[in-house]
Amino acid sequence: MALEDLYREVILDHYRNPRNKGHIDSPDATAHGVNPLCGDEVTIDLTFNGDTVTEVAVESQGCSISQSSASMMTEAIKGKTRSEIESLTNKFKSMMSIEEDTDLGLDPERPGSVLGDIEALQGVRQYPVRIKCANLGWTVLAEALSS
């Protein structure tokens, strides 16, 4: 059923136990974003080694979708280069897009095999009004990367 699809165990786990929570003392990049319609907030701190993200920390508050999405994102980008993150972001965005129907090659038999935990957010697409919750962390990430 759809709601079970939205609130999968892995999402609730990230919501309750957000990974990489906190601040970085002197980050190489940082950004803050608010979803003005619901008030959810995300702050991201990053450090780099050359092009590679070495550390990431997120301070946030909001619903299970925005919080778990931000938490999953931190796990997914650590140790990745800027261009790898860009490609990941695009995959995430098309997973969240109602219009686009890019085949990301997700395998229902082997969940997580392509995008890791992030795949669990697929169910959000059935709730268009919640898509911006899932996007919030990624939008703030993009801002941090371009800052």
Binding site: A2, L3, E4, L6, Y7, E9, L12, R16, L37, C38, G39, D40, Q61, G62, C63, S64, I65, Q67, Y127, V129, R130, C133
Partner: protein, 404 residues
């Protein structure tokens, strides 16, 4: 139990079985209101106050009849004290800018409260900034009431205006407006009441209420969007400058200056919401055909049930008075471990429409230490079944979040 379930047939939008518990944001519109507007547009529409021809006369008469109906509804002796504006927000901005810029200066204080909607907060911040006046806020007690002791210690001769909600759109709390007004008046301050939630649910008589200005919206009381009311006591309106300049609000205009028309026209620049006034009139007729006393009684019965049954769901906290004393039919809640937006989504799947978020009252949210609440608000078309559906949804949320 006050049974108004026969009214449901007048609200086609509810036919698909939705449990609509978001009337605090905006109410649905009954068929008689929709038909009144449609009929008017098909038979009598023209611009008002302008033409000598029959359609324009009919249209003007309908518009002015709506003004008289509103005046009667809120117990105002003089229909000229009723100004049609776009809604509560515009009404409050009209007072803040029209009265505030004229009558406030450095050293003066504006007294508002911690529990206001942004509409009764942001305009005063803007006006305080422009005039140099100070903006202070009457605090809330821990049981979600206005702290009247604090108020008495805050009021003084430097307070020029006190602005307070008639009913909190988050808590349901109804501050003692009459008492607040009497104290303010004793200190020579004007009193503004944001009655966006009050007038739709409680019989208001402006002479009893004691306020100098009253603001409310049609769309929250079964009427159309696009229209609302600023009522002002005549002497208070006389102290107020027009908020907008334009046609129909002038007595004379030269290239360099203008003189204002009589009240209320000086506050109604341009073409007003004419068809909306006709719909608003029909909405008041509809409300009165039920009776405001019965409406409030019905609200309170549902609130009583909701406070009990919602309060019984494990992990749920009611954010607002947990009894029906001096409160309206607005029940905000939070659930331990489940964010309000998740609650709203889960409830929506069960056909229950509630609003989740900060409800345009961020300072109040900060005061309560919550980021968001889910809010159920009641009106004439709601029934006990809507509350049962709400409670079912709340239990389902706990289940989904693995807490049952």
């Amino acid at each position: 139990m006050t049974d108004l379930s026969h009214l449901k047939a007048d609200f086609p939008v509810l036919e698909n079985g939705v449990h609509f518990l978001d009337s605090g944001a905006s109410s649905q519109k009954p068929i008689p209101v929709l038909e009144a507007m449609d009929r008017f547009a098909r038979t009598s529409y023209a611009n008002v106050h302008r033409g000598a021809y029959k359609l324009s006369v009919a249209s003007t008469e309908a518009y002015e009849a709506a003004r008289r109906r509103v005046a009667e509804f809120i117990g105002a002796d003089n229909p000229s004290e009723v100004i049609f504006v776009r809604g509560t927000t515009t009404a409050l901005n009209t007072v803040a800018f029209g009265w505030g810029l004229e009558n406030l200066q450095e050293g003066d204080r504006i007294l508002s409260t911690e529990i206001e909607h942004h509409a009764n907060l942001v305009p005063w911040q803007m006006v305080a900034k422009r005039t140099g006046a100070t903006l202070d806020h009457i605090p809330m007690t821990d049981d979600f009431r206005l702290d009247m002791e604090a108020y008495e210690s805050m009021i003084g001769p430097d307070v020029k205006i006190v602005t307070v909600t008639g009913m909190s759109n988050v808590l349901g709390t109804m501050p003692p407006v009459r008492q607040i007004a009497d104290i303010a008046h004793r200190h020579g301050a004007r009193v503004v009441v944001d009655a966006a939630q009050l007038v739709p649910h409680v019989r208001v008589n402006v002479s009893d209420l004691g306020a100098d200005f009253l603001a409310f919206s049609s769309h929250k009381m079964l009427g159309p969007t696009g229209i609302g009311v600023l009522w002002g006591r005549m002497d208070a309106l006389e102290e107020t400058e027009p908020f907008e300049g334009g046609g129909e609000m002038i007595s004379d205009v030269t290239l360099q200056s203008a003189t204002w028309a009589e009240i209320p026209h000086r506050f109604e620049a341009g073409t007003p919401p004419i068809i909306e006034a006709v719909g608003f009139h029909a909405a008041i007729d509809y409300l009165e055909s039920i009776g405001m006393e019965k409406i409030f009684e019905h609200d309170m019965e549902l609130t009583e049930i909701a406070l009990q049954r919602v309060g019984d769901v494990p992990g749920v906290s009611i954010q607002g008075p947990n009894n029906t004393i001096d409160r309206g039919g607005v029940v905000s809640m939070t659930m331990e471990g489940v964010h309000a937006h998740d609650l709203a989504t889960i409830l929506d799947e069960g056909g229950v429409a509630v609003r989740a978020g900060h409800h345009c009252a961020k300072p109040l949210m900060n005061r309560m230490g919550v980021a968001a609440t889910a809010r159920a608000s009641f009106y004439v078309y709601n029934t006990e079944q809507d509350i049962d559906a709400l409670v079912t949804g709340l239990r389902r949320a706990r289940e989904l979040f693995g807490m049952s």
